[in-house]
């Protein structure tokens, strides 16, 4: 018996239509949220942020599915670079993270790409790659467990952690 040949098209079509209809309904309900803490969907607030030293934030935030650094992220990383230049014996790990709205395996890769984006930027500001290790946690370690667009924006991050 060949399943593929006997697949009933009618029922399948119904399913697809039903799904399509639900999607329409849902997308109609959601309106774009404006928040003072978000620029596009990149987090710009201070909640969850920790500091390597006074005035040196430990993390930068990313847009959905992106690993490019915003102007504000570059500013933060330049502060980190300057701090690391002053503390020559300090080594760091950059943790890359993704939000929960993606497949697990892709998010692992995305976290790695984000951590490396931060690493590359620090290196262009004179920090030796030998002082920087990277690790991706994908979506496994959310800093904010809530299911909301602000929480997700806080979770799309790379965090610089001192290792010694």
């Amino acid at each position: 018996m060949n399943l593929g040949e006997k697949m009933t098209l009618n029922t399948n079509l119904k399913n697809i239509l039903l799904v399509a209809f639900t999607t329409l309904l849902l997308s109609a309900c959601s309106t774009a949220k404006k928040s003072g803490e978000l620029d596009g969907d990149v987090y710009t607030g201070k909640e969850t942020v920790e500091y390597l030293a006074s005035g040196v934030p430990d993390r930068v935030f990313f847009a959905t599915n992106k690993s490019s650094l915003t102007t504000k992220s570059r500013e933060t990383l330049r502060k980190q670079a300057s701090y690391l230049r002053k503390n020559k014996n300090l080594n760091i790990t950059i943790e890359g993270h993704a939000d929960e709205r993606g497949t697990r395996e892709y998010n692992l890769a995305l976290g790695e790409r984000r951590a490396n984006a931060a690493r590359d930027y620090l290196m262009t500001y004179g920090i030796s790659g030998k002082r920087i290790s990277v690790i991706s946690y994908g979506k496994e370690k959310p800093v904010n467990p809530k299911s909301s667009s602000v929480a997700w924006s806080q979770n799309r991050r790379s965090v610089t952690v001192k290792v010694n």
Binding site: M1, L3, G4, K6, M7, T8, T11, N12, N15, I16, V19, T22, T23, L26, S27, S30, N65, S67, E100, R101, G102, T103, R104, E105, Y106, L108, A109, L110, E112, R113, A115, N116, A117, D120, I135, S136, Y137, E140, K141, P142, V143, N144, P145, K146, S147
Partner: protein, 445 residues
């Protein structure tokens, strides 16, 4: 774990010498489930005690497992036992067909068992009630502690006889058992029978573990672990418990799967922000690079003949599914629909690819032909991903997460299954929250 691959001896008692009249239509799911009566198996009074097994109830217990398996397919309607008209031993010899037809049964399962010399001997028969004839019969001997597997094997044989397809009941599912708050999840590798029984934990939860997958013989598992905070692909021998890192990669390896011959592991290796697909031959340890592209290439899955690999890549900008030859040549994008696509998994029959689709903030599990045509979305939800095929290619198991509140409350992760027709969506029973399921092949094959 020890009796995992215990050999079971089959003796075919009677050959099917006539064509059966009943046949279950498997193309439409639960529209018209076949009424089937599963008589308790008769327990031979000569049966001897075995450990703490309650022999008296064993025949009934086995019949209940068979019923549950059948009900869960959505294709069968097991009838209530209180309407049964014949004693199990007499029905097993020769049913009074007209009496069973009165309770609207179309098929009847009967059987008997005997425990002697520390062996469980079981036989069963499947009867076509309309045609008043036996359809199939089988007897086998195994260790008594295997009695649940006996029920699953009987279920498989009957399913096969009535649908014309291989069953999927004598199988296991490996998954990640989850506990604790959402931002401090503890994750362990867990393995259970397909019906949720015999759960065993294979890791202690000291380190994060993800994405376990069986090899074709179900003896080995490849998975990802953050042991010593080094995210790497591991190989685990289920019987001995021995584990090893796969390869000697200077960075994160992830998204592992076995090749269909079990000789290689295919996975992603991330370096300097770029993830590409590699294979490692488990015997020669030779590592081969399969993709070389500045994008993220991950979630690789071999076709069952080993000639092709499906994977997802964001080389076009967003995650889409691609198919290439197993040497990495001839890369072709196959998804062009609205939304983004990930986690392609090749069906064991080779004709379909299951996937996760994300579109307008919703998540879908679907199937498509291997060239990307004929996309069918089976289920839509807030969050779900990572389909894995039943060994007969009929059912997909995947995991689904719920929305969390302010402090992560309300968050759950559960395993679900759905028929590839889009019918019969069910939650699988697991002892804890669960994710990343992988379905074994038939254990007794």
């Amino acid at each position: 774990m020890k009796k995992f691959f215990l050999a079971i001896i089959f003796n075919i008692l009677f050959l099917n010498n006539l064509f059966a009249l009943i046949e279950v239509d498997i193309t439409r799911g639960n529209l018209d489930p076949l009424p089937i009566a599963v008589s308790p198996l008769h327990v031979d009074i000569k049966s001897e005690e075995f450990k703490n097994l309650k022999i008296k109830n064993l025949g009934e217990e086995i019949s209940l497992i068979i019923e549950k398996n059948f009900r869960n397919t959505g294709l069968f309607n097991p009838l209530k036992k209180d309407a049964f008209v014949q004693k199990p031993d007499i029905a097993h010899l020769k049913p009074r067909f007209e009496d069973w037809r009165l309770i609207k049964a179309q098929a009847l399962v009967t059987g008997k068992l005997l425990i002697k010399d520390e062996k469980l001997k079981v036989e069963f028969r499947l009867w076509d009630l309309a045609a008043a004839q036996e359809m199939t019969a089988l007897a086998f001997t195994t260790t008594p502690s295997n009695w649940r597997r006996v029920a699953h094997i009987i279920s498989d044989k009957i399913y096969e006889r009535l649908t014309g397809e291989e069953g999927y009941f004598d199988t296991r599912i490996i998954y990640v058992a989850e506990s604790g708050p959402k931002n401090q999840r503890v994750k362990k590798l867990a393995i259970m029978d397909q019906d949720g029984f015999n759960t065993k934990y294979l890791t202690l939860g000291n380190e994060l573990v993800l994405t376990p997958r069986f090899n074709p013989t179900n003896q080995m598992v490849t998975y990802m672990s953050y042991f010593r905070n080094m995210p790497r692909v591991y190989l685990l021998d289920i019987e001995t418990g021995t584990q090893e890192v796969v390869g000697n990669f200077p960075g994160m390896t992830f998204a592992p799967r076995f090749s269909p011959d079990g000789k290689k592991i295919i996975m992603s290796f991330a370096k300097d922000g770029n993830s590409d697909i590699y294979t490692m031959d488990l015997e020669s340890r030779v590592v081969e690079r399969i993709t070389e592209h500045s994008s993220i290439d991950t979630s690789p899955s071999f076709s069952p003949d080993g000639k092709f690999i499906a994977f997802n890549s964001d080389r076009s900008g967003l995650q889409q599914i691609y198919v290439m030859r197993s040497d990495g040549s001839n890369v072709k994008r196959i998804t062009f629909g609205k939304g983004i696509y990930g986690t392609p998994v090749w069906s064991p029959r080779g004709d379909l690819i299951a996937f996760t689709k994300m579109h307008k903030g919703r998540f879908y599990i679907g199937v498509m032909r291997i060239d990307g045509t004929g996309e069918r979305l089976l289920t839509e939800n807030y969050y779900q991903e990572a389909p894995s095929w039943s060994p007969n290619g009929r059912v997909l198991v995947f995991y689904r997460e719920t929305k969390a509140g302010e402090k992560g409350e309300g968050f759950t992760a559960k395993l679900w299954s759905i028929d590839i027709t889009g019918y019969n969506e069910r939650r699988l029973s697991t002892k804890t929250d669960a994710s990343d399921p992988s379905w074994s092949s038939l254990l007794s094959k």
